[in-house]
Symmetry: C2
Subunit: 170 residues, 2 copies
Amino acid sequence: MTYQLFPYDRDVADVPWLDDREQRAWRGYLASHTRLMGHLTRQLQRDTGLSDGDYAVLVNLSETPGERLRAFQLGQAMQWEKSRLSHHLTRMTARGLVAREECPSDGRGAYVVLTATGRAAIEGAAPLHVQEVRRLFVDALSGDQLDALGDICDALRRRLDAAGDSDPCC
Amino acid sequence: MTYQLFPYDRDVADVPWLDDREQRAWRGYLASHTRLMGHLTRQLQRDTGLSDGDYAVLVNLSETPGERLRAFQLGQAMQWEKSRLSHHLTRMTARGLVAREECPSDGRGAYVVLTATGRAAIEGAAPLHVQEVRRLFVDALSGDQLDALGDICDALRRRLDAAGDSDPCC
DNA sequence: CAAGATTGAGTAGTCAATCTTC
DNA sequence: GAAGATTGACTACTCAATCTTG
């Protein structure tokens, strides 16, 4: 199975290429995210032993009353495929960071629960992580830029909603 | 991914937490990127058989005079670890998308060259991909927003440069 | 049958060690 | 010794198939 050129089943000849302004925004968006997340990921792993995925799971659970979520809720919040989530939870369970519990109201379902170990891990990691986010993101931008970026990301999210983004996690 | 930040219910000494405006920008930045890239990645794979990584390699090569780059240049452009690049080039070579060539001026080095197959692949994929980028990104934003985002991403990269981002690819 | 979730196989990425050449 | 690059082992993600319950 290979590269395979796709037949032009859509009218793609009329799609205009990106102009300079559009290229600058798009490529800058991609490049800044790659570099920034690369830095934060390495910092987190080195200083706390947690991956980005670990951190995301722990944060979502810690923010919930009862420190528990149904697996599918967790998957939706993180936009993860269900199999990715299941595999990851298996690994985190083996490390003692989370636990699985049966769901009384739905026999198919499973709760994911924060353990004491998991709580300690996120409480230790969060301040270090926030420090880096502040240093490399928040403090690099003006207040106006933060607001503008918030608006931009909202617009992108609305567009994805309108486009009926087919989500593998739902 | 560091999706969200853990809200402490007690004061954390010396770590200024993110306020609402900062949280909105940071979480929006992460969430919008996750959703947008997820959509584009699936579209690219489904319609062209190329992964994000394949596409990035092919674009970088196709934009170069001679359609060739030293491996380390390619790695820097994409911010990839050298081992990741090497493994990926091995797979792309097996599929006939790129080829390796010896470097005359430096016996240690290797050139990565676009093949005719690779050129056909990127030429077929690019219009479809650009169409999606335009639909979900460019057309979702105003001209002012595109400029603002360009400025924001430049600021982020300047901060990373100044921070002496320790790069695994260099 | 649809939804929630898990499993296994195959593919991709990371880390450390290695090799060659400068 | 350092830079460019590759390799192998281990870990992580994707896709399709499966199982159970609603």
